[in-house]
Amino acid sequence: MSNMEHTASEAPLKTFSCQLCELSSPFTYHGQKPPNTRAIVLLEECFVTRDPFSPDREKFLVLGSNCSLCGMRVCAGSDCSIFYTKRFCMRCVNKHLDQFPHQIQAELAKKKQQSSRTAVS
């Protein structure tokens, strides 16, 4: 176990950093097929790391990816991007909001309302 860790920590870690919220964290893989994920395939090219909150070493965590429209690097957080068949950064979502289904529009509107309410109080 310690051996594996040693080699893992030895490998130079590149850092993923969201261009919207500045969240940053080292990633270990970029692509659609993270190692040891068997039947699982990602539907976009993601920045992936080992899931730090799982005791299982093989579990992965998607940190984010590039916006399919503008190419901006965004995190998977719902404040920064949305995945709907493809990744869209929040700027692009807002620009093309009318093309998104009603459910998503409603959701975003609700969120906006909430955040403005907390900002006031």
């Binding site: 730090p52 940190l63 998977a76 998104f100």
Partner: protein, 1151 residues
């Protein structure tokens, strides 16, 4: 459609384990991302149930369809003149998932089942498989969101810490300077963030010290979580019993004491690149010393980086100590706190003897109730000085709480059981506040969230050391302004708060600015010993940040000399250098060494461990009759260490027999099980230390034995235990439980029982916690069968072994001895008085066995003989050896053992002075023993001297080999030690000499000794054979006391009433039991003869002994000396006996 469903439900049941197992074989196989049987697998099926329920609800409301159509319309309306994103027409939650699961298996089955349709009567059809796959996708997405949410929250919190904006500045300072001081108040985040900043800046091998063990564990846990290495070992902790350090560890949290031990092994700390010393402002003894050591190390190692972290207290002191090291000050994150001074009116101030008046405290509770509506949450933290004060105020507050039903009153101090301490973290129900009544433990060590009100008594009880009486003293003091601010700050951690100070503002202004550092308050024995072993030179010239008084260093040096750890020149002795490496008190270390010499290591390990931890006996259970009855069989009237030994053994035996259930067993006896676990850990550490110093035969662990089947069984068992531990650790982070209103009402009395009931009631909800995690850790850490063997060994101690064990304990504890007052037999049980050398009129602590059973300390009347008004002769006088002398309201002796007075003193005392015929002995200048029968007196003394010489020889031989790193071979053969122990036991048990025992008055000690004598007054210094009494020791006149110094501890004929030993009137006829000598001899001549004339068998044995052969032959040769016979006019090489025989020859011929 409907009929399809009905048909499905007949053949397929989602709730059936079997049906699910069939899907497991498709989706959760051994090599799949999620495997059947794993935690995620369990979570998936739980998720699946929720997901199905959600779908059914949605289907029933039929909303999805409608919404779908609306959406289509929406979409058709939009989209002119803009980029077409090519999004699907109909909304599906599935499109929001960026993962897909596809295997050949799944695809095939989906395809096949379409062909076969519903032919398959059992097994999943395509519908089931796609349902399951959809659920799996949602589950994966859900897990991703969950983990990402955690990460995002973590990063957000890190960014919000006040220290975050100084991140680059800190790294830069550490790069540029060898020493940096980071000062910041509670809540600024320095302890968790600074080590991480340094790690991510590329520093490797960072050590971060903490004053408290608990902080090492919790910080390592927190920082490894924050640095996303929760399940790795990049961040670890190391404390006394445990470590999570591996070769991959880059950041290690450890205690100050442990880093000092590492410096002992690795003087330049080459293993670290950065050392962070946290909480330096607390000024603990170890921390002050560590700073001193690091100060010279930094000068030596230019690549070492040192970071001191402190509260914003007295920062200049630290900066100046390290030649004006740069200081970075970080503002804390405290909410505003309103301070109210409410000094206690004179009529409510308690005098020294009285109990505390609760009225001022009750007014605070009332005030809060009047001023703040109950729905505004916020608890009260009340600081008092000590446990007695806490229970007084708790009682009064509880009455108020029961009446108003608005408070839950909880005490908090270190002598409470851990379960009771833990309650302060639980949550009060709505409309009710916690009132936590605490000692200064809550000032820094324990942090409780949700406190809005603080009430500060301004008092603290602190342990100080009185070097004159060699006594620990627990005294009440006003706190310092720094402490006062710290207490206040506890109200503003989570929101604006209020602090009530129960003193005047003028009092506050008069407080000392800072608390007295520990180095000025405590005994420095261990510190000085450690300094000596680290070769730091004269402790008086060491540059401390705030040097302790020279007198206190002096006291420690004297004490260490008395203990035999330092020689007369103040250098380490061989036992001293061993003791310096044991992380225990000098006395405990000595016991361990002695125990291993006599092969009583098993019981001694337990006793040494028991005396090094807090007592497992809960004070609160003492007045509970059920507990008292259950405890009774554990008591030993030999003394408290034996009661502790019995308790540990019974606990171990019970654990072996029943496995679990030890929690309940302990509860019934009012025992804090945690202490027993600490004992078993410490015991193991001691054993390893003794082994590594060659003091115990290295044993090949029996755990590797057994056949393959057994080994496999053990392996599976261990795996299961590891799993249990992991599960527990995961559950630990689950939410706190809500307190019940009645909670406080029981906690003062029979608290331990209600705890059990409370846990039982919560039943299912906390079922995970029914796993006794301590038991699991215990089983993982220890080899139970080995432990049980050890217990068996120490359980069936014969009375002989017990007598020897007592002697060894006593030699360890010496000079901590107390004499029962002569009038104790006429006093009540509770009024028994004792005297130590430096302190008169001490009493036995109520927790001791002798407090309830003092008769065993008295001389039995059948054995006494009144010799006069002040003199009671008996052979059964006893002394108490004790571990600590502690003054609270009275001076108390704690952890006592009773020992036979005469024998023990002669065997362990550092100074024994005699008169000419050895009927009067003065020990250590304060105890006087008078023996009636000169014959018996001489024999008793001489036997003791013989035993001691042998004992010393064996001890040195053993320590000699141990320091040379001899591993398997022990320096002393079993036969030789057995011989000695037999001799000692016989001496202890069967010496039936009648004597009186009393304490000398101050006047008597003034004219005790003859004083220096001129050569002419000492005609016998060149008496043949005097030096042969003890090999290597030369009897010479004592320049201070007078008389002859026969050994380092025995001074012959120096008492003022002494007669001349060689006057012919003292000569009596005597026949030697070992040889055929029969002639008139003076006492000294007799002792000389006895010292050199051994029984034939004994001498043979020493010759047989291979290892110490050299030492032996040299000692034998030192027995012979050159004797010039005037009659023969010849130089003869003879032993003293031979000289006597030779002389006798002439005597008869000349006559």
């Amino acid at each position: 459609m409907d009929s399809d469903r009905r048909r499905d439900s007949r053949s397929w049941d989602w709730d059936s384990q079997q049906c699910r197992a069939q899907l497991d074989e498709i989706f959760f196989r051994k090599h799949d991302y999620i495997q059947a049987g794993s935690t995620e697998h369990r979570e998936f099926w739980a998720f699946f149930d929720r997901f199905q329920r959600f779908k059914t609800r949605r289907d029933m409301s039929g909303s999805s369809r409608k919404e779908g159509r609306e959406e289509e319309r929406d979409q058709r309306r939009s989209g002119t003149g803009k980029v077409d994103l090519g999004l699907p027409k109909e909304y599906d939650a599935r499109y929001r998932i960026n993962v897909s699961v596809c295997t050949k298996d799944v695809e095939e089955r989906l395809g096949k089942s379409e062909h076969r349709g519903r032919q398959r009567s059992s097994g999943p059809g395509s519908q089931e498989i796609s349902d399951c796959r959809l659920a799996l996708l949602h589950f994966l997405d859900f897990s991703q969101r969950q983990s990402f949410g955690k990460l995002a929250k973590l990063r957000r919190e890190q960014k919000n810490l006040p220290i975050y904006q100084y991140r680059d500045r800190i790294v830069e300072l550490v790069r540029l300077h060898s020493v940096v001081v980071v000062a910041g108040d509670t809540g600024c985040g320095k302890s968790t963030q600074v080590p991480q900043y340094l790690l991510s800046a590329g520093f490797n091998h960072v050590a971060c010290t903490q004053p408290r063990r608990i902080a090492c564990i919790s910080l390592a846990k927190r920082v490894s979580f924050e640095s996303l290495n929760q399940f790795g070992s990049k961040v670890g902790h190391q404390i006394r019993f445990e470590t999570t350090r591996t070769t991959a560890t880059k950041l290690l949290f450890l205690t100050e004491g442990l880093l000092l031990r590492q410096i002992q092994q690795d003087r330049t700390l080459a293993q670290y690149e950065v050392v962070i010393v946290d909480e330096v402002h607390e000024r603990h003894l170890h921390c002050d010393f560590l700073l001193g050591v690091l100060r010279s190390l930094v000068a030596e190692r230019s690549d070492l980086r040192l970071v001191l972290m402190s509260a914003t207290i007295n920062i200049k002191l630290f900066s100046d100590y390290f030649s004006s090291a740069p200081v970075l000050q970080v503002p804390g994150r405290l909410f505003p706190i309103q301070v109210t001074y409410q000094p206690i009116p004179p009529e409510e101030q308690a005098s020294r003897s009285e109990k505390l008046d609760p009225r001022p405290y009750l007014r605070i509770l009332q005030g809060i109730d009047q001023r703040y509506p109950p729905e505004e949450r916020g608890d009260l933290l009340l600081f008092l000085s000590g446990v007695a004060e806490i229970s007084t105020i708790q009682e009064a507050c509880q009455i108020y709480a029961t009446h108003t039903r608005r408070w839950i009153v909880l005490p908090l101090h270190s002598t409470l059981s851990l379960a009771q301490q833990d309650k302060v973290f639980d949550i009060a129900p709505p409309g009710v506040r916690k009132c936590i009544i605490s000692t200064n433990i809550a000032e820094t060590s324990v942090t409780i969230d949700g406190v809005r009100f603080v009430a500060d008594s301004g008092k603290v009880k602190e342990m100080s050391f009185d070097p004159k009486a060699k006594m620990q003293r627990l005294q009440e003091f006003w706190i310092s302004r720094a402490s006062s601010e710290q207490r206040k700050g506890r109200a503003g951690r989570t929101g604006p708060g209020v602090c009530y100070r129960l003193y005047a503002e003028s009092d506050y202004d008069a407080f000392a600015p800072y608390p007295v550092p520990e180095i000025h308050r405590v005994a420095l024995d261990s510190l000085i010993l450690q300094m000596k072993s680290m070769c730091l030179g004269d402790p008086l010239s060491f540059v401390f940040i705030d040097p302790p008084p020279a007198s206190s260093i002096q006291t420690a040096v004297t004490y260490l000399k008395e203990q035999g750890a330092l020689d007369s020149r103040g250098e380490l002795t061989s036992i001293g250098s061993l003791l310096a490496q044991l992380p225990v008190d000098v006395v405990i270390g000595k016991m361990l060494v002695l125990g291993s010499l006599f092969r009583l290591e098993e019981p001694m390990l337990t006793i040494a461990a028991a005396l090094s931890v807090q007592s497992p006996f809960l004070r609160s259970a003492q007045h509970n009759p059920d507990c008292a009855t259950a405890r009774q069989p554990l008591h030993s009237n030999q003394g408290d260490p034996f009661t502790l030994l019995n308790t540990f053994n019974a606990w171990m035996e019970m654990k072996g027999e029943r496995g679990g259930g030890s929690r309940k067993w302990c509860r019934r006896r009012g025992l804090e099980e945690q202490r027993l676990y600490e004992m078993v850990n410490l015991r193991r550490q001691f054993k390893e230390l003794l082994r590594s110093h060659g003091l115990l035969e290295s044993q090949y662990s029996t755990s590797s034995g057994g056949d393959r089947g057994q080994r496999r069984e053990r392996l599976t068992e261990r795996r299961k235990l590891h799993q249990l531990k992991r599960d527990h650790e995961q559950q630990e982070s689950t939410r706190r439980k809500v307190l019940k209103l009645e909670e406080g009402e029981f906690s003062s009395g029979s608290g331990s029982d209600t705890e059990g009931a409370g846990k039982g009631k919560n039943g299912k909800e906390r079922s995970g916690q029914n796993v006794d995690i301590q038991e699991v850790k215990f089983k993982l850490r220890h080899n139970i069968s080995e432990l049980q063997e050890a217990v068996t060994v120490s359980q069936d101690l014969s009375s002989r072994q017990q007598a020897l064990l007592k002697l060894l304990i006593c030699r360890g504890l010496y000079p901590q001895l107390a004499l029962p007052d002569e009038h104790n037999s006429t006093r009540k049980e509770s009024e028994q008085v004792f005297h130590t050398r430096n302190k008169q009129g001490v009493v036995i602590h109520p927790t001791s066995v002798f407090a309830s059973d003092p008769e065993v300390l008295q001389v039995p009347e059948s054995d006494t003989r009144e010799m006069g008004p002040d003199r009671v002769d008996s052979s059964k006088h006893q002394l108490l050896a004790f571990v600590t002398l502690l003054e609270t309201n009275k001076p108390y002796l704690t952890n006592c053992v009773r020992v036979p007075a005469l024998q023990t003193l002669l065997l362990v005392a550092n100074s024994i002075c005699s008169n000419a015929d050895c009927t009067r002995l003065v020990v250590d200048g304060w105890l006087e023993l008078e023996l009636r029968d000169p014959e018996a007196a001489l024999k008793t003394l001489s036997t003791a001297l013989t035993h001691r010489a042998e004992w010393e020889r064996l001890l040195l031989a053993q320590l000699g080999t141990s320091t040379m790193g001899g591993q398997a071979v022990q320096g002393v053969s079993r036969k030789v030690t057995e011989k000695l122990s037999e001799g000692l036991v016989r001496y202890l048990l069967y010496t039936e000499v009648s004597y009186s025992l009393r304490r000398l008055t101050a006047f008597q000690t003034q004219n005790l000794y003859i004083g220096p004598q001129s050569e002419s007054e000492l005609p016998h210094t060149n008496t043949p054979g005097l030096s042969a009494l003890f090999p290597g020791a030369e009897a010479k006149p004592d320049p201070i006391k007078g008389g002859l110094r026969v050994t380092s501890f025995f001074n012959y004929n120096c008492l003022a009433d002494s007669k001349d030993l060689y006057s012919e009137c003292l000569r009596t006829f005597w026949s030697c039991p070992n040889c055929d000598l029969y002639m008139p001899l003076t006492p000294l001549e007799r002792m000389q003869h006895e010292a050199s004339c051994r029984p034939a068998g004994e001498q043979q044995q020493t010759e047989e002994e291979p290892e110490s052969g050299k030492a032996c032959s040299s000692s034998m040769s030192s027995l012979t000396r050159v004797y010039h016979c005037d009659v023969c006019n010849e130089d003869l090489s003879l032993t003293s006996t031979e000289i006597l025989k030779h002389k006798r020859q002439h005597m008869f011929t000349t006559n």
